[in-house]
């Protein structure tokens, strides 16, 4: 461990050492003030790096990753992006990725309870209610403009699936690509990936983007030399993705499709496949000068198949929203959504062993108003009425106090509900909705020019938490079922920008979740520290990115603790004319540690999976303009 720390620190020192010369040569206003205005208009400006700003209006401590960060730090999947964010930890088994943070931690529940929005489309499937962010995810990271993680319940806006938070993905526009972009990747463990994207914004205002990609990889190597510590089951996998997006005037049409194949190392009968797709059509129009209407119609599809078994669902819905601008810059939003989960199935040998369809009608809205020049309030609520369940109400009240520019305090209290997923309804006797009461305080402060701090404390009370697993083919054991859970935590993040574009972000998250009898819950590291340092090393053309993650010890499935881990990744990325490329060394120090994944009765395993060891990744691309 000490050795690890020394290696990481020495990398950081080396890294900072090379940054010095670039700082020279900055000009100040007094040196150019006498240059004729006409000439200044023709002079190139060095655009300053910005501290990333949240675009969502949520009164939470939002984390932001931009397209530039994706390039700088060599993120290959949405999971890589999430694992760089404050307080989040991503673990994997051989098939899926699991999310941990702010009191949610059970890998047998996959990544449920945090929703994923792709340009406003809610992406969780309707059987397991989980999100997909690794090779099973819908979107190539090269197509992502920015990702915001909004912790705290988003149920007031998005309902069930956003019970404990929202990951908001905004994709690039065709005009951002401005031609044909191709890239090829190669890496450790047989990683091969190819992508072709075309994007253009036309004179008549039409914006169009089409992208296809294909990946093959032979999985991961174990970082441990002592392999019997870990579950040795790793699979080859590959995927194919298609994404299309177009907008014209008030209309936008978007579709994404994915097929991910898992190849078992043992026998082809264990080969599995995920299929995921969506189609989304939106129209926005102004109704008079102060009302804007948006209508959104969507369709989603998900299937998992393993030899003779198949499960998943199909759904569609329509959402109609009015944004009304009132006097004094106050805003009222009113919306109504109808969603039809017309197919939720599990089949064995073509025989339906489970089948469900359900319809949900939701009303939602919020009122955003000023109480004083420096004090603003937001009250929002959402009512969901689904099939034979009693309607649930998820309200939230927030106060935002900004005593001066650069200083914001946000306080919020809320209640949220989560109806059991279709899969949970098939397994649990008790199908009462999970309930959350939450309170959060956030302080965002600019500390002089180009430094910002975010501090947050929160307290959640969770009731009716429904999680469990099959202990054998007959017995489903619910774990912590219906027990109240109480989660408390504090987070601190500092971000600084240097004049030459060097960006440092450091965050610390402390979290503690307890059951009613004061037991800690599994897979929840109490302390998570992240460091991201990105810097230009050759004008604007070349950047170095260092990402360091410390994840503290956590309780495993077998009631023993797994030690913490410290992992550092280094990426060199650059652009030269129409060429771009990245070279990453991930897990530089070859840290050995386990990640917690699904615990299945048939493995007889421990639910522990060896994390990926040191590995290398290379990407080369070219854009035809």
């Amino acid at each position: 461990m000490e050795c690890l720390i020394i290696r990481v620190i020495s990398s950081v020192v080396l890294f900072l050492g090379i940054l010095q010369p670039v700082c020279a040569g900055m000009q100040v206003a007094s040196e150019i003030v006498d240059i004729p205005f006409e000439q200044l208009l023709q002079t190139e400006v060095i655009t300053a790096e910005r501290l990333s700003r949240q675009i969502s209006a949520a009164p939470s401590a939002v984390s932001v990753v931009t397209a530039q960060d994706i390039r700088t730090f060599g993120y290959r999947t949405l999971g890589d992006i999430l694992s760089s964010m404050r307080g989040l930890n991503v673990s994997h088994d051989e098939d899926y990725g699991f999310l941990t943070g702010r009191g949610f931690a059970n890998p047998n529940d996959y990544a449920g309870r945090i929703s994923l929005l792709i340009d406003g489309y809610l992406a969780p499937d309707n059987l397991w209610g989980q999100i997909y962010f690794e090779h099973d995810g819908l979107i190539d990271v090269e197509l992502i403009e920015r990702v915001e993680y909004i912790p705290g319940s988003g149920s007031t806006s998005y309902g069930d699936s956003a019970f404990l938070g929202v990951i908001n993905v905004v994709t690039k526009k065709g005009g951002d690509i401005g031609g044909v972009s191709v890239s090829a990747e190669s890496g450790s463990h047989g990683w091969r990936r190819k992508r072709v994207s075309y994007g253009q914004r036309f004179e008549n205002g039409l914006d169009f983007l089409l992208s296809v990609s294909a990946l093959e990889t032979s999985g991961r190597t174990l970082s441990s030399e002592n392999r019997e510590d870990f579950n040795p089951l790793f699979e080859r996998q590959g995927n194919r993705r298609l994404f299309m997006k177009s907008s014209y005037r008030g209309w936008s049409l978007e579709t994404g499709w994915l097929v991910r194949a898992l190849k078992s190392p043992y026998d082809t009968v264990f080969d599995a496949e995920d299929r995921n797709g969506f189609l989304s059509l939106k129209h926005s129009a102004d109704l008079g000068s102060s009302v804007r209407q948006t209508t959104h119609v969507y369709h989603g599809h998900y299937r998992y198949s393993l030899s003779s078994e198949s499960s998943g669902g199909d759904w569609w819905g329509v959402d109609n929203k009015l944004v009304i601008n009132l006097a004094q810059r106050d805003t009222l939003v009113l919306g109504m959504e109808y969603r039809d989960d017309y197919q939720q199935i599990q089949e064995i040998d073509g025989l339906r062993v489970f089948e469900m369809d359900r319809q949900t009608v939701s009303l939602y809205g919020y009122y955003d108003f000023s109480l004083a020049d420096d004090l603003q309030a937001t009250f929002g609520a959402r009512v969901d009425s689904r099939g034979d369940h009693a309607a649930t109400v998820s309200p939230r009240l927030a106060l935002i106090y900004s005593p001066r520019p650069g200083s914001v305090f946000k306080g919020s209290v809320g209640m949220a509900n989560r109806q059991p997923t279709a899969a949970a309804e098939s397994a649990f006797a008790n199908t009462a909705p999970e309930r959350l009461r939450s309170a959060e305080l956030v302080w965002e402060q600019s500390l002089g020019v180009s430094t910002r701090m975010i501090a947050a404390v929160y307290h959640y009370d969770l009731n009716n938490y429904n999680i469990g697993w099959w202990t054998d083919e007959e017995t489903f054991e619910s774990f912590e079922n219906h027990r109240p859970l109480s989660a408390k935590g504090a987070e601190l993040e500092l971000e600084h920008l240097w004049d030459n574009g060097t960006r440092l972000k450091v965050s610390f998250a402390h979290q503690d979740t307890r059951t009613a009898d004061s037991q800690t819950i599994i897979n929840l590291p109490k302390n998570v520290i992240k460091l991201n340092l990105g810097s230009p090393v050759y004008g604007d053309n070349l950047r170095v990115g260092l990402g360091v993650r410390y994840v503290g010890r956590y309780l495993g499935w077998m009631e023993t603790y797994d030690p913490g881990s410290l992992v550092a990744d280094l990426t060199l990325s650059g652009e030269y004319g129409k060429w771009f490329g990245s070279l990453s060394v991930r897990n530089m120090a070859n840290a050995r540690y386990a990640e917690l994944g699904y615990l299945a009765y048939y493995d007889g395993g421990t639910g522990r999976y060896g994390a990926d060891g040191r590995n290398v990744w290379l990407q080369i691309g070219y854009t035809f303009k």
């Binding site: 080396l14 890294f15 050492g17 090379i18 940054l19 010095q20 010369p21 670039v22 020279a24 040569g25 900055m26 000009q27 100040v28 206003a29 007094s30 150019i32 003030v33 240059i35 205005f37 006409e38 200044l40 208009l41 023709q42 002079t43 190139e44 400006v45 060095i46 655009t47 300053a48 910005r50 700003r53 810059r329 000023s370 020049d373 420096d374 603003q376 900004s402 001066r404 520019p405 650069g406 600019s446 002089g448 020019v449 180009s450 004049d499 090393v537 050759y538 004008g539 070349l542 170095v544 280094l570 060199l572 070279l583 060394v585 530089m588 070859n590 040191r614 290398v616």
Partner: protein, 180 residues
């Protein structure tokens, strides 16, 4: 495998440092210094209605929610604008804004910046911003073009409503002039 990774790592670091040494100070201007000098030029190319001020009274350039631009303006302190020494100040509220000749709203201005603009009435203040969300409500909005030049758009109606006379040179140099 370890050795390969170690070699790759060393090469990466070596290449980075070599390239960093080679980085030259290009003849380009940092964005915020450029924005400060633009504000100075806007002031030179605009006529304010007479306020009966003595010539030693300052020409006040106020900044709200734009720390970087305020910092850059400090280098121009005391330069003459229509005979008055330029003075830059950061303002916090609607009362302080009355003393401004030029008001710059930076990217941190946010909702309070909007309310500040709403409360200006017809005061003879040249309003400038680099925040796209405020661009509709100010006389001059700054925008960095794709060619990395700093351009500006003018809303003539908003300047005239405040009794400000923009010179023909300023209008000629603008990227766009919206008359309305």
């Amino acid at each position: 495998m370890k050795r390969v990774a170690a070699v790759v790592l060393s090469l990466t670091l070596f290449a980075s440092s070599a390239l960093a040494m080679a980085a030259n100070a290009a003849q380009r201007v940092p964005e915020f210094a450029m924005k400060a000098v633009y504000l100075y030029n806007f002031a030179q190319l605009t006529n304010w209605p007479p306020r009966g001020e003595a010539s030693d009274e300052p020409f006040n350039v106020c900044v709200f929610g734009g720390d970087e631009v305020f910092h850059a303006l400090e280098a121009l302190e005391g330069r003459k604008v229509n005979g008055h020494p330029l003075h830059s100040l950061q303002i916090e509220d609607a009362v302080a804004v009355r003393q401004c000749h030029l008001l710059f709203l930076g990217e941190d201005a946010g909702r309070r910046g909007r309310r500040l603009l709403d409360g200006l009435g017809d005061a003879s203040i040249l309003t400038v911003t680099d925040d796209p969300s405020l661009a509709d409500s100010v006389a001059v909005s700054l925008v960095v073009t794709e060619g990395k030049r700093l351009a500006f758009d003018i809303k003539l109606g908003l300047a005239k409503g405040r009794n400000l006379a923009l010179s023909s040179k300023l209008l000629r140099l603008a990227n766009r002039v919206i008359v309305e």
